[in-house]
């Protein structure tokens, strides 16, 4: 009943302009946030000189064992199930590192980093979910699996997470992909990998085997890093390392095989990952082979928790594994690599020339990335000595560092000095080209923000014009004031990165104040029940606040869903049933026709029953612990054995469509006469029910994240 009957022309124009500016702002911002990354196509090859001069590689085969979400402390700490790996670390058969995973810490970008040596951007996060997108494959990129497959007799097998198979179509000879659709699966998903291992270890026809275990990540998502399931799972992974190690030690055809045990990312205290908290970015990285005894005297293991959280032993970048594998297995370093050959493995080569050769190759490969990035610098011409006295800026520093490193590597006289210069330069390139700031185009980001601010100002102008010309209803004024306050605070909040992660706290905080406001506004004139309703709402919001621990800072701390309802699952199901019945009661359609009333009721009841059956069945597959001790639910599930989940889901959806259509079709005539108060269209409620069937999981992390 608001009187917006006389629209103000200028206000409409302003509004149109604001709406036009928003997509422009988004576009400008996106070009800065998802910049074109210089990408070098093609595959690195040794030239004739390289083939003659290259040092002998100590290894021929590699077993690359990825354990999803293998955080550093899972392997290295006192409280670890990896006792066999720890014994290898002590004896010198294994060299341990903490692999630093850059954000985004989810599987696909991490696999890209582990195989190409480059640093995937946030665009890869989107592609991680858009799996069907073929542009995200690594089929046309230079990676170590590709390089290995090009070596003599190259044949690679892959068992485990099918992300690898999607990333490397046609590369693998034998494969067995697993998916993580049901995070509650802790065992099958890993048994499907392990069953291939003993047979493969007996064969001699491969030189690369990739294993990717998902079970540990599932346990993390479901029950966190301190779960009682965690240690048994670590022991299982440890036993697989033992199987592979024992074969390497005993089988002749595996004698020069390197076993790499690594995590693709870590996990936080709630068992989730994706961000850049220390727990998420610190992964275990262990290289294992009896041959490593030649160069390692062993390390202390297990070690007490380090002062720097999760930073056990030496910290290397995850991408460093790429040039290291290239050196140890004797193939060219992939062209987009920003990793640095791990110096702990240089002692494999006794001659100075060999060590220098490896580092020169690493530098030469990196220079192919550096040169296009700083195209104005004449890298091939040696700089004047004076010029490099105090180089300023990234480009000049790299320019001088490059010549410093190459010159000192050429001279045989001072070996350590040359290697030091080389590593200094390599790490400088890694830091400079790998830093976040170089990934974003700051001026586009700022431009996008400025345009969106302009859009806001224009929209506010439009609002003020419209409000002054059409006279806003007074009762809506406090609401408008509140919405403005919330908008402004929310906008400010977005500049605090912790509040982006902890956004829920903002809404809890502001909504409690708003409820207080509502209480005040109703206080003076109304009945006590209205005031009480506000208090009840406040109490309910307090319960919601502690329902799920979301965000980063308090992740893993007790909450109602995980701490209380998990042990009181009967109450959880009662709540669920009450919610379903409440929703159904709201779908009630008051109609003059008996027939349509009956039809609507039976359709609703059918939908309700199927939806609840779906819920029970899905829970049985996804969170079976919620059905424990509930014989009734287990009986329902047994009854549903013959119906697949998609089958049930289809019936829920058709029931929902019927519930919407029946009143629309049968009451077409009657609706015109019906009073507006007597019945609201049930559509929003019907849709609510659909949502409820899907989002029943009390754990907030979607299973998609484990890919």
């Amino acid at each position: 009943m608001a009187s917006f009957h006389k629209p103000d022309r200028l206000a409409i124009w302003f509004l149109a302009a604001a709406n036009l500016l928003l997509p422009i702002a988004l576009l400008i911002f996106a070009t800065g946030f998802f910049p074109y990354k210089p990408f070098i196509s093609g595959v690195n090859q040794f030239n004739q000189v390289d083939l003659e001069s290259r040092p002998e590689a100590p290894f021929e085969k590699v077993v690359f064992m990825v354990v999803d979400a293998l955080r550093s402390d899972f392997v290295y700490s006192n409280n670890s199930g990896f006792s066999f790996v720890q014994s290898l670390i002590r004896s010198g058969d294994a060299i341990p590192f903490t692999g630093h995973a850059k954000s985004p810490t989810i599987t696909m970008p991490r696999i890209k980093a582990l195989t190409t040596g480059s640093i995937p951007s946030f665009l890869d996060v989107i592609l991680n979910f858009a799996e069907s997108d073929t542009t995200s494959t690594l089929a046309n990129q230079d990676t170590w699996p590709l390089q290995l497959s090009l070596t003599k007799g190259g044949k690679i097998n892959m068992f485990g997470d099918d992300t690898w198979i999607k990333l490397f179509p046609k590369l693998f000879s034998r494969m067995d992909g697993t998916t993580s659709f049901f995070v509650s699966d802790f065992t099958e998903v890993d048994n499907n990998v392990t069953r291939n291992v003993p047979g493969e270890l007996e064969r001699a026809d491969w030189n690369g085997m990739i294993l990717h275990y998902l079970g540990l990540d599932h346990i993390g998502h479901k029950t966190g890093p301190n779960s009682p399931n965690m240690i048994p799972k670590q022991k299982e992974m440890d036993s697989i390392v033992k199987i592979v190690y024992d074969s390497i030690a005993s089988e002749l055809h595996l004698v020069s095989t390197l076993l790499v045990l690594c995590g693709d990312h870590g996990m936080n205290e709630a068992g989730n990952h994706g961000g850049s908290a220390p727990g998420e970015t610190s992964t275990a990285l262990v290289l294992i082979s009896p041959k490593l005894k030649q160069i390692s005297k062993g390390y202390l293991s297990p070690v007490p928790p380090p002062t720097d959280e999760f930073r056990y032993y030496k910290m290397v970048e995850q991408s460093d594994i790429v040039p290291t594998l290239a050196g140890l297995l004797g193939f060219p370093i992939p062209v987009n690599n920003l990793g640095v050959f791990i110096p702990e493995f240089l002692p494999f080569w006794s001659s100075v020339q060999d060590k220098q050769w490896l580092l020169r190759k690493n530098i030469a490969q990196m220079m192919d990335i550096v040169k296009p990035a700083f195209s104005s610098i004449p890298f091939d011409i040696p700089p004047a000595a004076v010029y490099c006295g105090d180089p300023s800026g990234d480009a000049n520093r790299l320019y001088c560092g490059y010549h410093n490193a190459t010159q000192s590597l050429l001279s045989d006289s001072d070996l350590d000095e040359g290697i030091n210069h080389a590593y200094k330069f390599l790490h400088d390139v890694q830091d400079t080209l790998g830093s976040v700031s170089s990934n974003y185009n700051m001026s586009s980001l700022v431009g996008g923000v400025l345009v969106s601010i302009a859009a806001c100002i224009v929209a506010v102008f439009s609002f003020i014009r419209a409000a002054s010309s059409a006279r806003v209803v007074p009762s809506s004024l406090p609401i408008l004031v509140w919405i403005s306050i919330i908008q402004i605070l929310y906008g400010i909040m977005m500049f605090a990165s912790s509040y982006v992660e902890e956004e829920q706290h903002f809404w809890y905080w502001i909504s409690s104040a708003w409820l207080l406001w509502l209480y005040m506004a109703r206080y003076s004139s109304s009945k006590i029940s209205t005031v009480l309703a506000c208090v009840v709402a406040l109490a309910a919001s307090r319960v919601i606040r502690r329902w799920n621990q979301t965000g980063q800072k308090f992740a893993g701390e007790p909450d109602i869903a995980k701490t209380f309802l998990l042990s009181h699952n009967r109450l959880l199901w009662i709540l669920a049933i009450v919610t379903y019945l409440f929703t159904m009661s709201k779908c009630h359609w008051r109609s003059p026709s008996r027939l349509s009333q009956l039809a609507a009721f039976s359709s609703n009841a059918f939908t309700l029953l199927v939806a609840m059956a779906f819920k029970v069945d899905f829970t049985a597959a996804d969170a079976p612990e919620l059905l424990e001790g509930l014989p009734f639910a287990i009986r329902i599930q047994a009854m549903l054995k013959h119906y697949s989940l998609p089958y049930l889901a289809r019936h829920v959806f058709s029931g929902v469509s019927f519930s919407i259509l029946i009143p629309l079709v049968l009451d077409r005539g009657a609706r015109a006469k019906a009073q507006p108060v007597s019945g609201k269209l049930p559509i929003p409620f019907v849709l609510t029910r659909t949502n409820k069937s899907q989002s029943h999981r009390i754990y907030t992390q979607p299973s998609l994240f484990s890919y």
Binding site: P474, L477, R522, S524, L538, A539, R542
Partner: protein
């Protein structure tokens, strides 16, 4: 439905009361004038000095500090604030704003202190409703509520006693602003704003419960006192437009 109809519609159901309480005037003797400015600063300064101890050991510090703060609050009330109307009448003093009769005032302050102590419990419930931990940190939250009571509720009891009208207005936040109500609103607002730094990832010791809330309360007391006394004096908070004051519920029913 036109606007005039709304205004003239009969309001059979509403039991409308009008806020009538007058703002509190501080006592005007030179000593009272000086102390009414100095003591809020002394309270804030004392809190500032104790901040380190509060971070190091919140429970102990909050507990020990109740006594000096209570003393400072009592002195401020006895010297600067007028007695509640009922007590002033019993005192046979015409003007409740004189500094005479210190013993009566002291007794009144002690009574108000007791009432404020009892009020800590409802404040505790309010804090929990607004997000204070329910299952842990009970001593911290209770002491936080006690300080809230001391800063914000004690002066209300001292100046308004247990007058029905005044407390009805307090329940709806309808009191006129003055040095006392300004402090109360400031403390409440400060406690609410004090929750803002807690989720930040700065990993500082002072982000722990309830340090920031208490800090917000003390800052709010100081600023609220001054703003209530000088800037907003006599004004009332308004949660909805005037012409709707009588009509809130009825409007909702008719327009829906």
């Amino acid at each position: 439905m036109s606007q005039t109809e709304l205004v003239t519609a009969p309001s059979s159901q509403s039991r409308e009361l009008q806020p009538t309480t007058t703002p509190v005037k501080t006592i005007s003797t030179p000593a009272a004038h000086l102390l009414s400015h100095a003591l809020p600063l002394v309270v804030a300064g004392y809190f500032y000095l104790r901040f380190g101890a509060l971070v190091a050991n919140p429970v102990q510090t909050l507990l020990l500090d109740l006594f000096p703060i209570a003393l400072l609050q009592c002195v401020q009330a006895v010297v600067c604030l007028p007695l509640s109307k009922g007590n002033a009448a019993a005192d046979h003093i015409k003007s409740s704003t004189s500094t005479k009769n210190i013993p009566t005032r002291t007794v009144n302050a002690i009574l108000a202190l007791l009432l404020a102590a009892f009020a800590s419990l409802p404040v505790f419930i309010l804090l929990v409703l607004f997000g204070a931990p329910l299952t842990t940190h009970h001593p911290q939250t209770l002491l936080c509520a006690a300080h809230f009571s001391l800063l914000a509720v004690f002066p209300l009891f001292y100046t308004h006693g247990i007058e029905k009208q005044a407390w009805w207005e307090i329940g709806g936040a309808m009191l006129p602003f003055d040095t006392v109500w300004g402090t109360t609103v400031g403390v409440a607002l400060g406690a609410w704003l004090g929750a803002v730094p807690i989720p930040l990832d700065w990993d500082r010791e002072w982000q722990k419960w309830p340090v920031t809330i208490v800090a917000g309360m003390y800052a709010g007391a100081l600023f609220g006192n001054l703003i209530g006394r000088y800037i907003l004096y006599g004004k009332r908070l308004k949660f909805r437009p005037d012409n709707e004051q009588h009509q809130g519920e009825e409007n909702l029913k008719k327009t829906s």
